[in-house]
């Protein structure tokens, strides 16, 4: 067995609204090793987004323990969680979540600013990250001058600029057409091949096919968890298949 990056043990998340108690996570145990590409699937309400928020240190579990890269994250303060998000994790969201009226390179610099990286070094690393996702020519474009796929690539560059251990992606292809989705998945596979652990939440089965491991959730529990042979996103796919999928 390799080194564990993410270790969830019997994690629960309970939302209390009035008298109604909602168990979004009902005892989830999950171990992700370094260098894995995990896709988490499930219908809406299955708890996959809640799981993602907890793994992403945006939310704290009600019960259970969470160890990220050897550090016990459950029970950390808001400030410590912010530091973890900055140094260990990278985020990619469905809605890209770029700062508007801010150039691509400045968006990518954002995590480095909070990480206290100096101006010149920051610009160098941000440029490098954008080149890595194929946007070396669009450094100074603002989000509204970029296509959806390009915006998502800026977001990916932002997620990897601080050399995180884990990149978390929440429905990263949800707002993209199928062709662009494949391009974006190719980038994720590239990251994974370079050694970054990727955890991706999706409800699209063909997106999940690109991962090396598939976790299916239902009603706040892990329904199935299996290793799979990932489909190569750089290989051309028949348009027929995509037509059927969408």
């Amino acid at each position: 067995m390799g080194t564990a990056v993410i270790e969830l043990a019997d994690v629960t998340k309970v939302y209390q609204t009035g008298d109604v108690e909602l168990r979004a996570l009902d005892g989830v145990s999950l171990r992700v090793e370094e260098g894995e590409f995990v896709a988490v699937m499930g219908a809406s309400g299955s708890g996959k987004s809640t799981l993602m928020n907890i793994v992403g240190c945006l939310d704290r579990p009600t019960g259970g323990t969470y160890v990220l890269a050897g550090r016990r994250v459950s029970g950390m303060s808001r400030r410590e969680l912010a530091r973890i998000r900055n140094g260990v994790l990278g985020f990619v969201f469905q809605q890209f979540n770029l700062l508007s009226r801010t150039s691509a390179v400045e968006n990518v610099e954002l995590p480095l600013e909070y990480g206290g990286v100096g101006g010149r070094e920051r610009r160098r690393r941000a440029t490098e990250a954008l080149e890595r996702v194929g946007l070396g020519q669009r450094l100074h474009h603002h989000p509204n001058q970029l296509s959806g796929g390009q915006q998502q690539r800026v977001a990916i560059a932002r997620a990897i600029v601080n050399s995180p251990k884990v990149v978390l992606a929440d429905e990263p292809t949800g707002a993209l057409d199928s062709r662009t989705s494949v391009d974006v998945m190719a980038i994720f596979q590239g990251l994974w091949r370079s050694g970054i652990t990727v955890v991706l939440v999706t409800h699209e089965p063909d997106v999940a096919e690109y991962a090396s491991r598939l976790v299916v959730m239902r009603d706040g529990r892990v329904l199935s968890d299996r290793v799979q042979e990932p489909k190569d996103a750089t290989q051309p796919t028949s348009s027929k298949r995509y037509g059927a999928a969408s």
Partner: protein, 409 residues
């Protein structure tokens, strides 16, 4: 994130909405501008009063003789001589808080030079007078005690009299002038003093020894002093004390029974000055507090816009938090934004206030005094307004839940 970056991010956020930022700062601009203009006007008025009273003399008391009362018609203070030369000596010698005292007797007489004449106020007094009135001699010298003792015919001219008799820039020291048929030698010219608070020209005057005055103008030196006594107290704190002491002394010397009215009156000029001073200070305070209220309103305006801004930018806050902004850093960002708005407003307000004050000074000839400390205090105060009214929205931003913030539409 270092402070420079924090300021840069804040400024960029402000500049994204230039018109809104300007309107937000307007309250502070008007507040600070009003404070500075009002304080400048108040300080100018105060300085003018101070100057006017300083010109009259420092720590000055004027003792006036009593009034006549004939057939039910009361003559007013000074109409009956009740002060004696012995009273003057007693005031000089027996009251410890008195620095100097001088008699003043006045008459309006024409002074004749070789080919010109000019009617002016001639004062018979002693050499102490010039000290008491804070009035230096510009040319020559004041007459001396021996001139007083000998009843010498010497004269000190005011600048206006010199201008009228000899023309400006002339030096009349050594020349002879006549009052009536009596020749006087000019020994000195008193320095230009300007106008009194009521517009009277101090320099339209001439001074001769009181002994000479009594003999040549009044026709003999009697028991009574036919004029007033001017007294300088040791310091401005001593004037009230000196006034009490002199009152007690004169009542005793004049055998006034307890409960009876004084047969003299003492004017305390520093008291009058103080009262006027207080008047201008009250006015200044009033104006400044109105201006301070508008600063407060400006602060509320900033808070209002910052709250709107936090709501509008909830998603941005969420993004920043997701990539690792600590709550403290978010707090600082919004606080610096509020602070930048209020300081910018303060600085624009300073320019506006100074401009308004300068304009008023030029347009209406108001005495205006711009004090650097007022500028410092109002800019400091506007910064404080920014912090006080910025902290709540900033805290609100920093306590947002990152997940909720990211979901915010």
């Amino acid at each position: 994130m270092n402070p420079v970056q924090t300021v840069r991010v804040a400024l960029r956020a402000i500049l994204r909405n230039k018109l809104r930022a300007f309107l937000t700062t307007l309250g502070i601009v008007i507040g600070v501008g009003a404070v500075i203009a009002m304080m400048a006007i108040g300080a100018g008025a105060k300085a003018q009063v101070e100057e006017a009273f300083a010109a009259m003399g420092t720590n000055l008391l004027i003792i006036l003789p009593g009034s006549t009362s004939a057939g039910g018609v009361k003559g007013g203070f000074g109409s009956m001589p009740t002060l004696t030369w012995d009273d003057l000596a007693a005031i000089r010698n027996d009251v410890s808080t008195v620095k100097a005292a001088a008699p003043t007797m006045r008459a309006n007489e024409p002074i004749v030079a070789e080919d010109q004449n000019w009617t002016t106020s001639i004062t018979g007094t002693s050499p102490e007078y010039f000290d008491i009135r804070n009035w230096p001699i510009a040319l020559g010298a004041a007459f001396t005690q021996s001139d007083v003792d000998g009843g010498t015919k010497v004269i000190v001219l005011g600048q206006t009299v010199v201008d009228k008799l000899y023309g400006s820039n002339a030096n009349p020291v050594g020349q002879t002038v006549r009052i009536g048929s009596t020749p006087f030698q000019v020994v000195g010219v008193a320095a230009k003093k300007g106008q009194s608070a009521t517009g009277q020209d101090y320099d339209d005057a001439a001074f001769i020894p009181f002994t000479t005055f009594a003999q040549k103008v009044q026709g003999g030196l009697g028991k009574y002093l036919q004029g007033q006594i001017m007294v300088a107290a040791d310091s401005s704190d001593d004037t009230a004390r000196a006034q009490q002491d002199i009152t007690a002394l004169l009542r005793d010397r004049h055998h006034i029974a307890p409960g009876d009215d004084d047969d003299f009156s003492i004017r305390n000029l520093s008291e009058i000055a103080g009262a006027r001073q207080q008047g201008t200070e009250t006015m200044t305070l009033l104006l400044a507090s109105v201006a301070a209220v508008s600063l407060l309103v400006g602060g509320i305006g900033i808070m209002n816009i910052m709250l709107v801004s936090v709501t509008e930018r909830t998603r941005e806050i969420g993004i920043r938090m997701a990539v690792g902004a600590e709550p403290q850093q978010i707090l600082m960002q919004f606080l610096v934004e509020a602070l930048s708005l209020s300081i910018a407003g303060g600085l624009i307000g300073v320019v506006t206030g100074v401009g308004t004050a300068t304009w008023l000074a030029g347009r209406f000839h108001w005495p205006v005094l711009i004090q650097p400390q007022v500028i410092a205090v109002s800019v400091g105060f506007s910064a404080l307004v920014g912090i006080v009214f910025g902290i709540y929205p900033a805290r609100k931003a920093s306590q947002l839940d990152p997940i909720d913030a990211l979901r915010f539409e």
